[in-house]
């Protein structure tokens, strides 16, 4: 392939990913003019994974609970992250989330309203106050659609259904990216002064998952290959409530909003078991705790017929349920023949979110590679060992914007153009076409299925040294087989060919998750080791950072940044700021046993 004839574009700022983080970054980068901006997604515009988010976006606007403040949001987020979060990232986040949510209203999002006519906020696990701005149970769609229409009204070039397979460097700094159009398989080369990585997570590593097909970790794997640091990879969130039955829908998310609106969890003995595991927060405990509790109940033989727990909201009025949770009502009725206004339903943990990812600075989202910025689920720093519900939608707004600003400023300050090494481009073309030379090679779908089985068995909700080591061996063996993946047919919209690269990325990230999990010899947040069941203060001082090297993954422990006294003082309080007077009583709507 001749690079001269390859479709080539040049931009000041190139945003990889048209989910919430990517679109917010693009809107910001283009907001002052004078900077050329493009955004790329591997799906159609408006279909990105963000569209699935249901429950809401967390921001301490305080429309219902006036004492809420950024300090309380900070306190809750650090606590839920078990203090291995980057405190500065959390501080920026908690302070800026309210403005970002209001901005969406300004751009056309229509949130549910309070009786005073303001943005409605709902209770969610681990949040001290009612904090999640929402639109029924389709908040992500509202966020994405609003940003989508905002973006197309601006001077932003949008590439749809283009998959990027490689990031390109100019010496030690970023210089562009390469990819192909899914529709006909032709290659495209992007030169860029700055790149915002907003490619989302990698929930497709697990068999039972709430994630869309896009969540194959492409961005994290590509950044790792060119030398960016990845952090906290062992921290995978399992959402406590995925659908269980029928099997066709296993894993599909049941929003935490069901519990936020008053839904209660029972075991097969009709016991509200969460009262035992977390007497104070009960159903609204953090996800790591609720997921583990359901898992333990099932292990103890108190599971539902298909191995989960019962979730019941039928004590609420049918009209209320249909208004507050219309998507859930419909999802169960059409896919499960269950009327949730009348009967309880089965739920069990499902892989949901990646706390780990590309290490990014708090203020600028800068990664360890000059010119490469990371925001959203692909980035790491905000959530620590466990993400609070609603914090991701706020995350992608706050840090999408910040990455957009930083990328714009960085590109503006660069005097010279970037140059790209043609031989790298040629080699990448050859690599991407390779699978066609192996029409009888390994089937990528089959490798993917086996990988999911391995990760689900060895590196999921409960882990141990022995299990992880066996899992690692299997992943390495699959990586070996993965080198022989093949495809047939043409380059025209060929999902079998596309899957090869998705699976390569997942094979790589699976190894990092297991290596990280082996290093963290304790239990913390989403990471539960049956052989080290306790949270160990010594371990809480470290994050684990992964670096690519020719002879394999290098894992290093780096110290968790130490908080300045003002912030440490907030975290040290026995009750959340603003809740002092309410200690003992509950500000969240009273719940009946």
């Amino acid at each position: 392939m001749n690079i001269e004839t390859m479709e080539t574009h040049s931009f000041d700022v190139l945003v990889l990913g048209s989910g919430g983080a990517g679109l917010r970054a693009a809107v910001e980068a283009a907001s002052e003019g004078g900077v050329s901006v493009a955004v790329i997604g591997k799906s159609l515009l408006g279909k990105a994974h963000t569209v699935m988010a249901e429950g809401g976006a967390a921001a301490s606007i305080g429309n219902l609970d006036a004492p809420d403040s950024w300090q309380t949001h900070f306190y809750d987020t650090m606590k839920s992250g078990h203090y291995i979060n980057n405190y500065r990232t959390v501080e920026v986040f908690a302070k800026e989330a309210p403005s970002r949510v209001l901005e969406l209203e300004q751009w056309g999002a229509v949130f549910d309203r309070t009786p005073e006519g303001l943005i409605m906020q709902r209770a969610f696990g681990g949040h001290s106050f009612r904090r999640l701005a929402h639109i029924g149970d389709r908040t992500g769609m509202e966020l994405l659609r609003t940003l989508q229409y905002k973006a197309i009204s601006m001077d932003i070039k949008v590439f749809q259904e283009v998959t990027v397979t490689r990031l390109l460097m100019d010496g030690s700094r970023i210089a562009g990216a390469m990819g192909y159009y899914r529709s006909d398989g032709h290659f495209v080369l992007f030169k860029a002064k700055a790149i915002v990585l907003a490619t989302g997570g990698w929930g497709k590593l697990y068999k039972v998952t709430s994630n869309s097909w896009e969540s194959t970790g492409d961005g994290a794997a590509m950044a790792y290959r060119i030398g960016a640091d990845l952090k906290d990879m062992e921290m995978v969130q399992f959402h406590p409530t995925g659908m269980v039955w029928p099997p066709g829908v296993a894993g599909l998310l049941v929003t935490e909003g069901v519990r936020g609106e008053g839904g209660l969890l029972y075991n097969s003995e009709k016991e509200r078991f969460m009262v035992r595991y977390d007497p104070e927060r009960q159903e609204l405990s953090t996800r790591d705790v609720v997921a583990r509790s359901i898992f333990k109940e099932v292990q103890a033989g108190r599971g539902t017929p298909h191995g989960g727990a019962w979730l019941d909201i039928s004590h609420k009025k049918a009209d209320f349920i249909k208004q507050k949770l219309p998507g859930m009502y419909e999802q169960f009725l059409t896919l499960g023949d269950i009327d949730i206004t009348k009967q309880p339903f089965e739920v069990a943990p499902t892989c949901h979110y990646q706390m780990g990812g590309v290490q990014a600075q708090a203020e600028t989202c800068a990664t360890t590679i000059p010119g490469l910025f990371a925001a959203g689920e692909v980035a790491c720093g905000l959530h620590g060992a466990n993400r609070l519900g609603g914090n991701s939608l706020a995350d992608i707004l706050v840090f999408g914007r910040r990455a957009g600003i930083a990328a714009r400023d960085y590109a503006g300050a660069l005097k010279s153009d970037v140059t790209i090494d043609e031989s790298v481009v040629e080699a990448e073309v050859a690599r991407v076409l390779e699978p066609f030379n192996r029409p009888d090679g390994e089937n990528p779908y089959a490798i993917h299925e086996e990988l999911q089985a391995v990760m689900s068995a060895h590196a999921a909700i409960v882990r141990s040294e022995d299990d992880l080591k066996v899992g690692l061996g299997k992943v390495l063996a699959l990586q070996e087989r993965g080198r022989r993946m093949g495809t047939s047919g043409s380059r025209v919209y060929n999902p079998g060919w596309h899957a090869v690269f998705d699976v390569e990325n997942m094979l790589m990230l699976s190894e990092l998750i297991i290596r990280g999990a082996l290093e963290r010899k304790e239990s913390r947040g989403g990471h539960w080791r049956s052989d080290f069941p306790d949270e160990l203060p010594e371990m809480g001082k470290w994050n684990f950072v992964h670096q690519y090297s020719a002879d394999g993954d290098r894992v290093q422990r780096v110290p968790v940044p130490e908080m300045p006294p003002v912030l440490a003082e907030i975290c040290a309080r026995p009750v959340a700021p603003g809740r002092e007077s309410a200690a003992g009583t509950s500000q969240v709507p009273p719940r009946k046993g």
Binding site: S43, L44, V51, G117, A446, N494, P495
Partner: protein, 253 residues
């Protein structure tokens, strides 16, 4: 119950093609998309299909199932016990391959919709009943099934004259937003081509989000157009006052 389902899936591209039969083992609660994925994993790796969420949220997996425009992820296979399930791409849009069509025209139309234009700065004061009506329109997942079924586009190919039901819903969403200050009526009438809709309601029938596209979006917009252009009394007052006070009827509380 049968142990397998029989699918007949269109395979082909712009040059042509035909349906090919596949057999898929039955799993309880399976939807059409699951079966298509099964075929992809086992029989035809290069079978082209779009999907993202498998939860009726993203609007990617639109197709015509036994002739009905539907979401594959929301269509249970048990509905077709004992029948062969024929799966075809949406017919109104040019085919790329198999079940994937070129829907880019919709994105071109989307660009013509003027952005939301509030007269004031957030936070807005709006009651739930102020927004109930427009929130219905926000349920749209842009699956383009309504565009697929609308005869103005499907049979008469008037893509250059009519934006189609999806974008009438989008226009209604902004037009009826209590805070929007843009005047959208001329565009709805002229470039938007609302007059071409003859209220057959086929779009409403296929909308997987149960949006009352015709009753709640198109008809009220048609009324606003009629008020503006064909109501002699209002026209008289507009000439007198220079401005149509009733053009935006909802005032925020």
């Amino acid at each position: 119950m049968a142990e397998e389902f029989v699918l007949s899936i269109f395979r082909g591209d712009a040059e042509g093609g035909e349906e090919v039969e596949y057999h898929v083992p039955r799993i309880e609660g399976m939807v059409v998309l699951d079966a298509v994925h099964h075929v992809q994993a086992h029989d035809a790796q290069d079978l082209a299909v779009r999907w993202n969420c498998k939860a009726a949220h993203c609007g990617s997996c639109s197709a015509e199932i036994n002739g009905m425009p539907k979401l594959m992820c929301k269509t249970r296979l048990d509905e077709y016990q004992g029948e062969t399930v024929h799966i075809q791409p949406m017919r109104t849009f040019p085919i790329i391959k198999d079940l994937v069509t070129d829907v880019s025209w919709n994105y071109e139309v989307a660009k013509k919709i003027p952005a939301f234009n509030p007269g004031v700065a957030a936070p807005f004061h709006m009651q739930q009943w102020d927004v109930d009506r427009i929130q219905e329109f926000h349920h749209c997942i842009e699956c383009f099934l309504c565009q697929d079924v609308c005869h103005v586009l499907r049979d008469h190919h008037e893509q250059d004259e009519y934006y189609g039901p999806r974008f009438m819903v989008k226009m209604a969403e902004f037009e009826m937003h209590p805070m929007d200050r843009a005047d959208r009526i001329p565009q709805i009438k002229n470039e938007g081509g609302i007059g071409l809709c003859n209220v057959t309601k086929c779009c409403t029938t296929v909308c997987p989000q149960h949006i009352h596209i015709t009753d709640n979006a198109i008809i009220p917009l048609k009324e606003r157009v009629a008020d503006r252009y064909y109501d002699p009394i209002r026209n008289f007052f507009r000439k007198l006052g220079g401005k149509d006070e009733n053009a935006k009827q909802e005032t925020p509380t």
